[in-house]
Symmetry: C2
Subunit: 467 residues, 2 copies
């Protein structure tokens, strides 16, 4: 017979206690599918409680589908659907939503972990843990810890020549998160211009937020100002230091044109995405638009996910003072989305110059990666069938391929060989023949063996008979 | 004379190098406001570069406002506005956006840190740090680490009797973050019903996202179904286990009414906010609506910020399978917003039963807090002028006050005494005399001295002559 511990002094009614107990036994499979439950009368006698109580518990179980009834026979335990989790699973849980495994991933921004000063980061984390605990466990201000914002302001001054008050900075868990805030800050009647080609994620964010956006084509100097002017857009999203995926740097003339566009109307703004600006391998870094904006029309964004690790979700934006005031009055009710541990650790990592050292270290590593990959390609038979387009910055280059295969075929044929790579046309809103047959080779995490495998497979694919 | 290190082999033009160097000197105040710059000719001779180069650099500095020119005299350094940060500040940075300091805070959910097993948490963090680093630094799946989702699923089964697959769970940096995702998931044409009174933050989120929402009044059993039916809302946000701030528990009859409302139309959903359900001091915890929803219409949300610490930003939602499939196809491009360190640590904290122990520990602590505060009030002269409304759950109770002061006056008078407290009417969208003159006493972090101070000040305020 069923065992149930009933607490008659509890404020919870007996039928609920019985119901909970039976439900739990069914979930943990103490009661098995199709097992008969005792009759109401038998259980009533066994437990010394009224039949009405048993009835109520059974009815609830019936309603919720834990048991079923068979006329004139009684109640039986239902088999729970596969969708429901077992508390004592015989098989370990395997997610339905896992990615495919690839031999070569030329798409992801893999930050080679051997490169990251993990032990320094851990040491700082441990030091952080020995901090004054009240500070560590306090609610974080809406815009982020002042320690981190001060460190970021100094970093921006040293690396980007930007003069920024820590009060202008808002720290958030990823740029995607900050974009959502910007949509709310600028208002949903804003019409956003994005670069075409450009980050598909930015478009996905605007799309999923159901706000207006236009993809404005680029020429060799960046976003076309003539088309921007023709559009109804009042906010433009650009990455002047290093365009993804074309790798363009916006020259000063186009920057000034962009600034004159933004200054022409009161409610216009530029969102400057400075992602990847750290990685320029010849000459000085290209200064941000922010620095030549005298009318406070540029919203600056950047992330630490690339230069540290994707698992550390810390991004930030720098708002012009007027927008910061607006943020304060309308959106500062939102809590900061980054844990204080991560913020303290990053602040000290920056202040201790570890970030600077790491970026320099990564630069040397990426240059070597780039040189190795480019050399391997140019020494292979691909040299005649492909053309490398790049400007010694970032962690990718474009590989224009001489083929009659469509981009979709190219990508899917490589996928069959377990090579994950994307092509330029995937980042285009409008089709452009100029951008076709162009692979995007992200070499950040690739090994020499993987590059050889990629080259061999691409050579095979570009054989005349495959075309 | 000015010192500039010019690199003639650099790909950066000399004028940019000069411009950068001068700008930096102005920022770090090596060049002081109103100091004269050398004439173009003099600097040209000094540095051995053309006058044209000097001109270009000066023009750029002029354009950006770093220097100004006086006709027939030359160029002078501008005083930078106070808004710009100095790289060598003589005074430490003080944020413009700091909160006022209070002697007594009866509003915030202060989790007394002496209560939290900080050393256990730190030990787990340290263990986490010694993990396989590739796992730790890998990109986190969009829905969160499987380790954490499995732990949450088990926690929900043990504590809330919920059968949930880890595949239904989405981890995010705070419930606010997850609400923004839900708006995108359910679509902007959704009309949301919220409880009135209820969390003002939920309304603020809907408001700042510019989506339709209606505040539906409550009766003693919770949200009024008749008014919900009259509204055009298709999604309702409720907290059946413990309503904030009224402290109501939604009885089963009202729950079933709510479920019959949601089942009446295809696109209807219930968002169940289960915040605070851990803290019920008599009898069994109230089971979630989720458990009696047989048609997969309930979206369940909860957070660990309350039971662990606000600084750890981990919340989660449980989506019905159909919504999860929709999320996967439309919103899984969003990266997970919680760092993997925090996720691994929390997963082990739950698996090691530390969360369970901590919640039980906190329950005993909160009961004592509650008993102490209630006893102090009932032994004071407030006993005659106030009435405590509560149900032995959560970390607050209502204090109905006999006064002719308006709620605004009451709050601001207490603020003058450096007591931060809120009143029930602040959480109302529609005015209701029933909810006036009612303070919300959150006793989670208050000390005996603070409660004495609060009682004394409130006694003074409620003296006949103050009324």
């Amino acid at each position: 017979m069923i065992t149930v511990n009933l607490d008659r002094d509890s404020s919870t009614s007996l039928y609920i206690q019985l119901y909970e107990s039976l439900k739990r036994d069914i979930i943990i499979r103490k009661l098995l599918p199709n097992e008969a439950l005792p009759s109401k009368r038998a259980l009533s006698e066994h437990l010394g409680i009224s039949i009405k109580t048993i009835e109520n518990a059974y009815s609830q179980l019936l309603l919720e589908g834990y048991i079923y009834s068979v006329e004139k026979k009684g109640y039986y335990v239902n088999a729970l659907s596969d969708y429901r989790v077992r508390s004592n699973p015989t098989k370990p849980y395997v997610s339905k939503y896992t990615d495919e495994d690839y031999l070569v991933d030329l798409k992801a921004n893999k930050n080679s972990m051997e490169m990251f000063p993990v032990s320094t980061w851990y040491r700082i984390m441990r030091e952080t843990l020995s901090y004054d605990t009240t500070r560590l466990w306090d609610t974080v201000p809406f815009n982020g810890l002042s320690e981190l914002r001060i460190a970021i302001a100094r970093h921006l001054l040293d690396f980007r020549g930007m003069e920024v008050s820590p009060d202008q900075i808002i720290v958030g868990a990823g740029t995607e998160y900050l974009y959502a805030r910007l949509i709310q800050l600028l208002g949903r009647d804003t019409s956003f211009a994005v670069e075409d080609p450009g980050y598909t994620k930015i478009r996905a964010i605007y799309h999923s937020n159901q706000v207006n956006y236009r993809a404005i084509p680029l020429d060799k100097n960046g976003i076309r100002i003539d088309l921007l002017k023709q559009s109804d857009c009042n906010v433009v999203h650009v990455s002047p230091a290093h365009h993804f995926p074309l790798g363009l740097v916006m020259p000063i003339a186009r920057r000034l044109e962009l600034l004159s566009w933004v200054n022409a109307q009161k409610d216009r703004y530029i969102i400057e995405d400075d992602y990847d600006s750290e990685y320029r391998y010849h000459g000085m870094p290209v200064p941000p638009l922010y620095n030549i904006d005298v009318r406070s029309k540029v919203i600056y964004m950047n992330t630490f996910s690339k230069c540290i690790a994707p698992a550390v979700r810390i991004s930030f934006m720098v708002l012009p003072e007027a927008l910061m005031e607006r943020y304060l009055s309308t959106l500062s009710f939102y809590s900061c989305s980054v844990s204080s541990f991560d913020q303290f650790t990053l602040a000290k990592f920056i202040e201790g110059n570890y970030l600077e050292r790491h970026i320099n270290h990564m630069k040397r590593y990426y240059i070597k990666q780039r040189d190795d990959v480019i050399r391997s390609i140019s020494q292979s038979s691909l040299a005649d069938k492909t053309r490398i387009i790049e400007d010694a910055a970032g962690t990718h280059f474009l590989l224009k391929v001489n083929t009659s295969l469509s981009d979709e075929e190219l990508i899917s044929r490589l996928k069959e060989k377990k090579i994950l790579i994307s092509c330029l046309s995937e980042y285009c809103e409008h089709k452009n023949p100029l951008y076709e047959s162009t692979l995007i080779v992200n070499y950040s995490g690739i090994t020499p063996g993987q590059i050889r495998y990629f080259i061999t497979e691409l050579e095979t694919l570009l054989q005349p008979y495959s075309a």
